[in-house]
């Protein structure tokens, strides 16, 4: 199909430089104990011939492909896009490529995708969260494959991870609303199946409201898929109740945007008539009217740290790796005291 151009091989470089193939390989891999003179001769031969090493042969012989795999639920959520973007940029520094696979929160798909990536020969794996099928751990261990999960914070020695606590900020958000005098709270959660982060946030909301004796009744806890339109729907559901909430805790910013925009659409004043909180601190959160009170998830920082840590693990440094990052609350104007005019 394509013209079979005569490719320059490592052996050609060796001949051109008048050295052995082993020496060329050593120069290529920056191995120790190589004389400066030899290095120069080889490099000059490489330049002269325009030699480019073959990654596949390299991978077979060295048992390293120079790429890791990342399994993410979706790239449609910009928070993951941001993380993957940082991850890839940082991996580049370590001369490492990135294979991505998405699984739409379907853990069977995740395991299947992992199998495929492992078969490709990836040098390491990045996972999101703590919810995985048993097969994932089994496979990873059996292959002795370096891996790291992120976006959560379990101190599990079998699951090295770099992330943040999802529960505590959720509790703090709930507490913030309680402090402002709200008692009729509602929760808009993403589906928790296969999503420990969503579950942890929901639990945080519940723990705090229960402790205060005003846990939302079932009808004020709605679960919707990820999306602005879904947030709009959730708002409509909640406001149709006999006793609508005075404040809504959302599982993520996108849902909060939906809720907020739906509220504005019907002319509701935020926060006078309704307080709203998010979780993620997406770029537009601070530009909403009013700016959204939320939790700043360190997506970019996670990407960088995961890259560095996984590369370290691949290099054999089996560090502890339970890294807890800060996910601070960001108080803005979407939350406030209920106006007492009624």
């Amino acid at each position: 199909m394509s013209k079979e151009v005569q490719r320059t091989l490592l052996g050609d470089v060796a001949r051109e430089a008048g050295v052995s193939t082993a020496s060329v390989s050593r120069v290529l891999n920056e191995a120790p104990h190589v004389s400066e003179r030899l290095r120069e001769r080889v490099n000059s031969a490489i330049d002269r011939l325009g030699y480019v090493p073959d990654g596949t042969a390299r991978a077979l012989a060295s048992r390293r492909i120079g790429a890791i795999g990342a399994l993410v639920p979706t790239l449609d959520n910009p928070i993951f896009g941001a993380m993957i973007d940082s991850l890839e940029q940082r991996l580049k520094r370590h001369d490492c490529r990135l294979l991505i696979a998405t699984y739409r929160y379907d853990l069977d798909d995740e395991l299947q995708a992992l199998r495929t990536l492992v078969q490709q020969g990836i040098d390491g794996v990045v996972l999101i969260g703590h919810d995985h099928l048993q097969g994932v751990q089994t496979l990873l261990q059996r292959r002795g494959l370096p891996f790291l999960s992120c976006w959560h914070a379990e101190d599990d020695p079998d699951w090295p991870n770099i992330g943040f606590d999802n529960t505590l900020p959720a509790r703090n958000l709930a507490n913030h609303l309680l402090q402002l005098g709200h008692r009729r709270l509602a929760i808009v959660s993403a589906p928790t199946a296969g999503n420990d982060r969503a579950r942890a946030r929901l639990e945080g909301f519940l723990q705090e409201t229960e402790a205060a004796g005003c846990a939302p009744p079932p009808e004020r806890i709605v679960t919707v898929e990820y999306g602005i339109a879904e947030g709009v729907l959730a708002f409509e559901t909640l406001m149709g109740l006999d006793a609508p909430p005075t404040a809504i805790l959302c599982g993520n910013d996108t849902l909060a945007f939906g809720v907020m925009l739906a509220a504005q659409r019907v002319g509701m004043r935020i926060p006078d008539e309704l307080s709203i909180t998010g979780f993620d601190d997406l770029p537009q959160a601070r530009f909403m009217t009013p700016p959204l009170t939320t939790v700043a998830v360190p997506a970019n920082e996670i990407g960088k740290q995961v890259a560095d840590a996984l590369i370290a693990r691949i290099s054999g440094e089996m560090l502890p790796h339970h890294q807890l990052l800060d996910a601070p609350l960001v108080f803005r104007e979407s939350t406030g005291q209920l106006s007492t005019k009624d």
Copy 2:
């Protein structure tokens, strides 16, 4: 470093099944002319031994790694996230993996990243837009590597592509504003260096306004980096002018969001006092207050079609591949006639 478990090889499967290695390979690759009986024996042996083929060896021997590379400016822009998400899902169907690399609109970085991916042995390449260094084409051609660019629509036989016209919708947006009676137009553009899409949109805006005799003077054409905050800044710059615009054409939705939110912040009524247009139709565009008039970029459709077309090319089908998709205007409430009360 990791326990060297005795891996099961293709040869082991052959022995177990009592056939040759070639036969096992044929079954694995679903080659034609394999008897049902042989297939069953091999598959059963594979199951019994839990054999998993080695991707690196496969790649070296077959000269296909089962993955393509995608070079995107950034994944921080959700429109690219959406495209990559669809692309990856669709590639999966074809049993193809995805390597991604970002280059922050730096064409030198793009070429460098391409070199790295080519060296890995990727089977094909996806590019964004038409702006690339000469080296990109040279490299692609010399290796006879199947590739496809997207997000633009040149009818260049040397550059197979699947995309949409960026200029025409831009013209139509400008015309829409002119029809509404606006004469003091402004443009907020993303940097056009290394970004033919931004340039095409800008040109569309200019062509139409020039034709109507009201091309914006230089001070009403501002260029800012991608981002909501940058849109806010652009708004402030434009509104500080002696003759501020009555309508603003933005190069993408994110900039438009920034402009709109900044306008709301200072209490400006949209569209009564200011009309705003975007480009992309991000999910939140229709949920803004007011909903944003914009252009619906078929990001997901591009992802799917690119996957199918590139796989076809890799399989040797050298189709024409200049596929023009529709990018329709979406008229919403962020544009309207200037209120004539002054």
